[in-house]
Symmetry: C2
Subunit: 340 residues, 2 copies
């Protein structure tokens, strides 16, 4: 299998748009849990997106925030974690496995955003190895991992040194034979540069979120993701603002200027990436065409509203990262389209 064949599973094809199950399927099942990943697989989703943080000993674990969220994590005693929550990187893997990530805390703004998400109990924070081992099974050998490594130049205390975090991820991916069907995405482009060095077989996707009024944060129609990804009201105190495209941004590893007039697809392609993951509200048709002309796969995040799903299908995105994979399947079916 050559590189081109391999990546075709992520590219748009006639009548086909790829569905990436965001954190499994956050709209329906608790995010970043094995129950959520199993559900997405049962739906026929062929790309599982997840977030990786690091335990104290550098074990990669699947959870979104640098700190365990008081909105979504209970302790071994069943009580919600106290705010702001302990730093994941300060906890050993054995202790981390005692927390329960199976449900959202009633009354929080975050819980209000996912009213159909099932409430489970005794659902642990998985290690990356737990998920990789599931995908290593023969029955899932056509499934890709879209692995978002969480790293921030503003929070070096929240993760191992970059070379160490990449080495820890690569070790798990290689041990499970997933190097050829892993896409690593990151807002912190320094991590992707290091990934290219350590594991050239892993495909890279550069995440972007435009800061300021012109970006998705200023899109009045995008109230669900006001300000930044899904973290509005969720983890604000942890400084989890990942807008990374602005002048002199430390996120870009010197590979781009972050200026408004920049040819962002060009910078990403020149960095050796196979893919680009812009916030869906940031993407223009001209940029998408530019990215495709440069051979980049374009995966948009996080697309949940039917009108936004429709718009991304029409625009021509390769992949749609969504909390509601069933909903995207149905929007595609309504056009006589599919996802595999």
């Amino acid at each position: 299998m050559n590189s081109k064949d391999r990546l075709s599973a992520l590219r748009r094809a006639p009548g086909i748009v790829r569905i990436h199950g965001h954190r499994g399927a956050r709209g329906i099942m608790p995010e970043n849990t094995m129950a959520g990943f199993r559900f997405a697989l049962a739906c026929g989703v062929k790309v599982l997106e997840c977030d990786v943080q690091f335990a104290r000993d550098h074990t990669p674990v699947i959870t979104h925030n640098a700190r365990l969220s008081p909105d979504a994590v209970r302790g071994a005693d069943g009580q919600w974690v106290d705010g702001p929550g302990p730093l994941v990187h300060g906890i050993g893997p054995d202790e981390l496995a005692t927390f329960d990530a199976g449900g959202l805390r009633a009354g929080t703004r975050y819980a209000g955003r996912f009213p159909d998400q099932a409430f489970l109990s005794l659902e642990p924070i998985p290690s990356l190895d737990d998920l990789a081992a599931l995908l290593a099974r023969g029955e899932h050998d056509d499934v890709w991992l879209n692995l978002e490594i969480k790293s921030s130049p503003h929070r070096p205390e929240a993760s191992p040194p970059i070379a160490d975090m990449v080495a820890a991820v690569v070790a798990v991916i290689r041990a499970n034979g997933l190097e050829r069907r892993t896409l690593a995405q990151c807002f912190d482009w320094r991590v992707l540069v290091e990934m290219r060095r350590q594991a050239p077989g892993v495909a890279l996707s550069f995440l972007t979120a435009l800061a300021g009024d012109a970006g998705h944060g200023g899109d009045a129609g995008n109230d669900e993701d006001a300000g930044n990804d899904e973290d509005a009201g969720h983890d604000e105190d942890a400084g989890n603002d990942e807008d990374n495209i602005y002048p002199d941004s430390p996120w870009l590893a010197g590979l781009a200027t972050g200026r408004r007039d920049e040819d962002l697809p060009r910078a990403i392609a020149d960095a050796g990436a196979q893919a680009w993951s812009p916030h869906f509200a940031d993407l223009t048709r001209a940029q998408l065409e530019r990215a495709h002309a440069l051979g980049l796969i374009v995966n948009v995040w996080t697309v949940n509203a039917p009108r936004d799903i429709d718009r991304m299908i029409e625009l021509g995105a390769d992949g749609i990262i969504t909390d509601y994979p069933g909903r995207v399947q149905r929007r595609l079916r309504a056009r006589g389209m599919g996802w595999v």
Copy 2:
């Protein structure tokens, strides 16, 4: 375990309302499929509701309509079934197993009602034995089956003689050791009378749907279920109107008059039932209290809108039959309540 202990799993308790996964979890996964039942179990749902029709040789199979629906069933060739669809009871079990019930047909009114339902392929119509065997496993030994037997006095050609259909169901339930955790519900009360005779260990729930302007069909706020359960626009041509409460109704086996002023809970209790399943929009507080005073469990169907879920929790229903089990879990959690 005595009878009282056994039924307590279905009764409301302080802080607890039971969730019945309707056809599995029709809002999220294809109805009456093993994928749907597995999903409901993964959510922690402890009562699985399903519909039983009968193959030509009387094998009980899990599907809702008397005829395979052109909106929801594909043939072995992947093509949608032609309307009005073949009678299930006219098809042998081997041929029945070749149909695909994994998705809804885009553009139909029925598909439009469940926009988040995943679209699967090669998902067969299960036999009742398939589901019973799953629930017979030790890990699911606290799960009940709420088994709706589809029978209509207006369509005798669509099912075996009543004694035969009950015998076929009882054989499967007994073979899998589920007699003590099966609740049989039916609009056609003749079937329940026969069930009581053949298998007194099976709990009975009398389904009711009030015909006419005073019933749920005339409830302007209940547009999702206009006229009758979920079948509006779905299977109209099959005459699948199951409103069964009206004077001289042939559905009631002479156990009730069907008059407006009737003490319906009394008639149901006198018939030896353990439970009553009214359409949620038909239920009044006075009737609910009357049913509870008579020892009946009250399970309302099919409750999907958040405001209706809230109202049924407040009213005091024992069980909520829903297409969205996660949503009901979350409405309960918002009140500090649970479902087990």
